[in-house]
């Protein structure tokens, strides 16, 4: 039995499941929108129910932590903010334990490390001769302006963790990577919230690599020639989409990625890389729960089938 922890709307999970069905493999899809009821958890036993169906821990052979969280909330229609907050902390503890239990199974990704820290990744690159743009986190206007000047007024600023998402009435607002102008920088107040600034790399093209069990499946995105996608390709141009093509990173670079992923304990993740106009590779970030359909389909990598085979 394969346990998949995901979210209701994740299409990649559905596509992997289609292959599991084709391979005649048994699976349980547990979306975070559904409840996992713990029937019995002791030092040597773990039984739980999903949609009133019972399962034993020993029935599970492999676990794919795709995204989302385990959810123990009961829909009793009673809400209490203080108790809910307390329960949330208690459940966090319990989730960490259950995910640690899963480590004894064949595991594709681990909930306990899915929120890999961008700063840790950049520090690792710095210490292990992997090119990455230099960065600064500061609350000081003076420091920010000095960094801006050092990089010839070519810097970007972006979220440390997740992009900003906010709803107002019926509209959804989202933030992207931002390349500030001189005016933006000089208008900053003397002190501000901790902000992440990074050297802007003039790119030849960007690369999205999906890493799966020591193998890199890379795709090149020609986003540089379109002003709309130059800074952040997620400003998709639907009228003139970026050209996408399979790409092979140099073996030496793939070995470095492999070593890095092992050191972070990851066996699956999406990696963002850019190749500069000087032909150097710069690693931008790693996302263990990133979307891989965008790499799998245009490049014919069939990553969904490969994941299903692994599980």
């Amino acid at each position: 039995m394969i346990l998949i922890i995901s979210q209701k709307d994740d299409l990649s999970t559905t596509e992997v499941i289609r292959w599991l069905i084709a391979f005649n493999k048994n699976y349980i899809r547990l979306n975070e929108e559904s409840t996992m009821v713990i029937d019995r958890l002791t030092a040597n036993d773990f039984r739980f129910s999903i949609h009133s169906k019972s399962y034993k821990y020993t029935d599970i052979e492999s676990v794919w932590y795709r995204r989302g969280e385990l959810n123990f909330k009961l829909s009793l229609g009673i809400e209490d903010a203080n108790i809910d907050l307390y329960n949330e902390k208690e459940h966090t503890h319990l989730k960490a334990y259950i995910h640690n239990l899963f480590k004894s199974k064949r595991l594709l990704n681990d909930f306990n490390i899915y929120e890999i820290n961008k700063l840790e990744v950049l520090r690792y690159c710095h210490l292990n001769t992997i090119n990455a743009p230099s960065f600064l986190v500061t609350q000081s206007k003076e420091e920010a302006l000095s960094f801006f000047k050092t990089h010839q007024e070519n810097i970007i600023t972006k979220a440390l963790k997740y992009p900003f998402l906010a709803r107002e009435k019926k509209s959804l607002f989202a933030s992207y990577t931002f390349k500030p102008s001189k005016e933006n920088m000089t208008s900053l107040p003397q002190r501000f919230v901790p902000t992440f600034f990074q050297q802007y790399i003039e790119k030849r093209y960007e690369i999205r690599t999906f890493y799966l069990n020591e193998r890199c499946y890379s795709m090149v995105i020609f986003s540089q020639n379109n002003p709309k996608t130059r800074i952040d390709f997620r400003h998709y141009d639907d009228n003139k989409p970026n050209r996408l093509s399979p790409y092979k990173l140099p073996s030496e670079y793939e070995s470095k990625i492999n070593k890095m992923m092992k050191s972070f304990g990851l066996n699956s993740a999406s990696i963002d890389i850019v190749r500069s106009i000087e032909n150097e590779y710069f690693l931008l970030e790693i996302n263990p729960i990133g979307q891989f359909k965008m790499t799998s389909h245009p490049c014919n990598y069939d990553l969904e089938m490969k994941i299903a085979k692994y599980l």
């Binding site: 289609r18 292959w19 069905i21 084709a22 600023t157 972006k158 979220a159 900003f164 906010a166 107002e168 019926k170 509209s171 959804l172 607002f173 989202a174 933030s175 992207y176 990577t177 931002f178 500030p180 933006n184 208008s187 900053l188 107040p189 003397q190 002190r191 501000f192 919230v193 901790p194 902000t195 992440f196 952040d232 639907d238 009228n239 014919n300 069939d302 089938m305």
Partner: protein
């Protein structure tokens, strides 16, 4: 929302990159038709041997 964000960046309580925020709902309205037509036109090209099974 955008005006509110600009004000809070100026006050120092919102990080600078929030100035890149845009209204996705507005943008989506314009592209739905283009996407629908593209999907139809490319659907015939996407049937590759590797995709025949198990779809």
């Amino acid at each position: 929302m955008i005006a509110k964000i600009k004000k809070q960046v100026k006050n120092g309580i919102a990080p600078l990159h929030l100035l890149s925020s845009k209204n996705l709902t507005e943008e989506k309205k314009g592209i739905t038709k283009v996407r629908a037509s593209l999907k139809y036109e490319t659907s015939f090209l996407q049937i590759k041997p590797s995709h025949r099974f198990p779809l």
